[in-house]
Symmetry: C2
Subunit: 220 residues, 2 copies
């Protein structure tokens, strides 16, 4: 049985929050899902009681995904990222407009629709933000990127991915020329505020940690 829209969103957020290896906390999930912590506890208990269980859960210890939960999460993430790519390629959406639309479409498309857009797009590896698209058999490709915030003076790389759904930030980065596939060089580092001065194309920008932590690069 296909999980409900709500459940799909919970699993997706749990996947994202546990990518660092730590269990996802009730509060973090509540914030990401725009829901109260009490509601999260209720849903988590339900997901843990499903057969097969979709999450591993111990009171007060946070949640992680089981194999079944991870599969369901990757299914939604694949939908989301293929749809974003599709909207940009065929309907002229810009990268700051696609997320909201994909957030709703991801839950209602058929597996047939998924196959058709994947084929029409030539089985893309990344979405418009550079995020990796899970494969058709629901494996997440290995992510070999480094956060820009880890680079120091005179190091350089190529932008692979912007990890943000904030439309304003995405528009801002677009204006600074900081988009996937752009080559970038760090020309200065300020140790106290962690600001990086970077050059991309002809432009030079000073970026705070809130930005450099969301830009992921392939180190040269």
């Amino acid at each position: 049985m296909k999980p409900s829209t709500s459940i799909q969103d919970y699993l997706k957020r749990i996947y994202e929050l546990t990518e660092n290896g730590q269990p996802a906390s009730t509060n973090d999930l509540a914030r990401e899902l725009n829901v109260k912590p009490a509601s999260v506890t209720g849903m988590i208990q339900k997901l843990a009681a499903e057969k097969p269980a979709l999450v591993e859960y111990q009171k007060h210890q946070g949640v992680t995904l089981t194999a079944a939960g991870k599969r369901a999460a990757l299914e939604v993430i694949r939908h989301h990222r293929l749809i974003e790519t599709w909207l940009v390629q065929t309907l002229g959406y810009s990268w700051d407009e696609v997320h909201e639309e994909a957030e709703r479409l991801e839950h209602v498309i058929s597996e047939d629709f998924e196959r058709r857009i994947a084929a029409a797009l030539g089985h893309p590896l990344r979405d418009p933000h550079g995020e990796l698209i899970p494969t058709a058999d629901l494996k997440m490709p290995l992510d070999e990127s480094t956060p820009l915030s880890a680079l120091r003076k005179n190091q350089s790389g190529k932008i692979l991915c912007i990890k943000s759904a904030d439309a304003d930030l995405l528009r801002h980065l677009n204006e600074l020329g900081l988009t996937p596939n752009t080559s970038i060089e760090v020309v200065d580092y300020s140790p106290f505020d962690h600001n990086l001065t970077v050059t991309a194309g002809k432009r030079t920008s000073v970026l705070g940690l809130n930005i450099t932590g969301r830009i992921f690069v392939e180190k040269k």
Copy 2:
């Protein structure tokens, strides 16, 4: 506030059932919506109590749409038919595959998405089944078609529209060459069973009322 998926489906069905000028009955709605009559009564009472009311309702007398209800219904129908057209044009769906997918997508696309596919398709007037697409300002164009069942021996016309969501029937008609824009001639009429013998392209078929009542033509 945008109506829920359920409400949108109710309004759409009420629109279809009242196209003949008669109010829609509780039982007919229940059948179309795959829901029990008691549930229909409950929902109808809710829709009549909305401000502004979406339906006009008197106990035991059936239900009709108010202006607000009709607008909401045409919005969903426009989505549905544009999506069907788009799936056929850009993803190679066949006309018997699109309905199910559109039935889910129609409720979640944005007005922006609607505008984009309408523009990308060149503002089409009809969907893949030949059904008229409501305009952007939510008017249903005048339907000047005649049911094939009203034609008699030696009369001819051009197929405008197939009014059916039955995938098997659509595939069958496809094989008989009975698709929109095809010219058709009635070569025989059997008064007792209302069968029509028709020629379309090189093929001749004998069609019962269940089919001829769903094929709509422009009389020559």
